[in-house]
């Protein structure tokens, strides 16, 4: 029996109907369809945090919210800092097989201080731009080596509107890229890879939880 125009996702009764109610065919067919769950290994960051106490971040006395380390013992304005004020500095930011995948489940890799679009992540989230607004990432790939080529892929099915895309690897120069085409950097560098999206008109990126595939994927080569 030849099966044509078969509809995936049909109920079993619908499938049976499409098979002309042939009970011998149905079990065989069902065993050929299964669903898989994938485990995607994501970005790995590793680095150090300076806890030497020889900087302004040292664990110790804090002057009413301003972390300092020059207060005298018993000073009236001094309160105890329970933790170091400085953050870890990540030496390496690595992606399996060189692929960074952004699902926008959280803002771990979004430069929220620089991005001026409206970012509302979560179960029904979206990222909304007016004309000229930007979404900029933190460093998403840093191997210690010079990065010279990268390819940006975008899941168009969740984006409405037009975006101009840029990549940077030297810490200062943004270079315009074409989605899906390998870009060779004029300004290669080892500072780390970032992306920037600039809205050309009104743009919305649907980031809600039902999005299973990554929305932005960047391959370093």
């Amino acid at each position: 029996m030849t099966i044509t125009n078969f509809k995936l996702g049909s109920s079993i009764s619908d499938i049976n109907s499409q098979l002309s109610n042939s009970p011998d065919e149905l079990p065989l067919l069902i065993t050929r369809f299964f669903e898989e769950i994938g485990l995607e290994e994501g970005t790995f960051k590793i680095g150090t945090r300076d806890v030497s106490g020889d900087g302004a971040w040292g664990k110790g006395f804090n002057d009413s919210g301003n972390t300092v380390n020059n207060l005298n013992w018993g000073a009236s304005t001094a309160v105890w800092d329970a933790d170091y004020a400085n953050s870890p500095s990540y030496t390496y930011i690595l992606n399996p097989s060189g692929y960074f995948n952004e699902h926008f489940v959280d803002d771990e890799f979004i430069d929220t201080g620089t991005s001026d679009c409206t970012i509302s992540l979560g179960e029904n989230g979206s990222i909304d731009f007016t004309d000229g607004e930007i979404l900029q990432s933190e460093i998403i790939n840093k191997t210690g080596a010079t990065l010279s080529k990268a390819t940006l892929y975008v899941n168009d099915s969740v984006i409405t509107g037009d975006i101009d895309w840029y990549l940077q690897v030297d810490g200062s120069n943004w270079e315009a890229v074409t989605v899906g085409e390998e870009h060779t950097f004029t300004n290669a560098g080892s500072t780390g890879l970032k992306y920037k999206a600039v809205a050309d008109g009104v743009v919305s990126i649907d980031t809600k939880y039902t999005t299973n595939n990554s929305i932005i994927k960047i391959k370093v080569s």
Partner: protein
């Protein structure tokens, strides 16, 4: 089809199983048949903080400034409480001195294929 609720359950099972992270000093290439670090630094075996949101799992590892110092770490793994290893990652080298903590952060994502 696989529902989001089912995927979340898989995420929770994995999230609850991840227990520790550990560093090592080998530069041997990663292969799928490996079962752990190639040159483990046993003192670096530390509990990790694991959090989950939607289909995302985030694992955070921290090694204080007085433990396993003097090493230059080049490999990292995440394990469960039975020392079964989820993954192994190689990097060029992190020197660990008494002036620094080592911090690592790793993400996993669950999704239908």
């Amino acid at each position: 089809m696989l529902l989001n609720e089912g995927l979340m359950r898989v995420r929770e099972l994995l999230q609850n199983d991840i227990s520790t992270g550990q560093l090592g000093t080998s530069t041997d290439a990663v292969s799928q048949a490996q079962t752990g670090l190639q040159t483990a630094v046993s003192a670096s075996d530390q509990s990790v903080t694991v959090s989950g949101t939607d289909k995302l799992i985030t694992v955070e590892y921290e090694l204080d400034s007085v433990t396993a110092t003097g090493n230059t770490f080049t490999e990292f793994i995440v394990e469960n409480s039975s020392d079964e290893t989820f993954n192994r990652i190689l990097f060029t080298g992190i020197a660990h001195s008494g002036d620094t903590e080592v911090h690592a952060k790793l993400r996993f994502f669950i999704r239908p294929v």
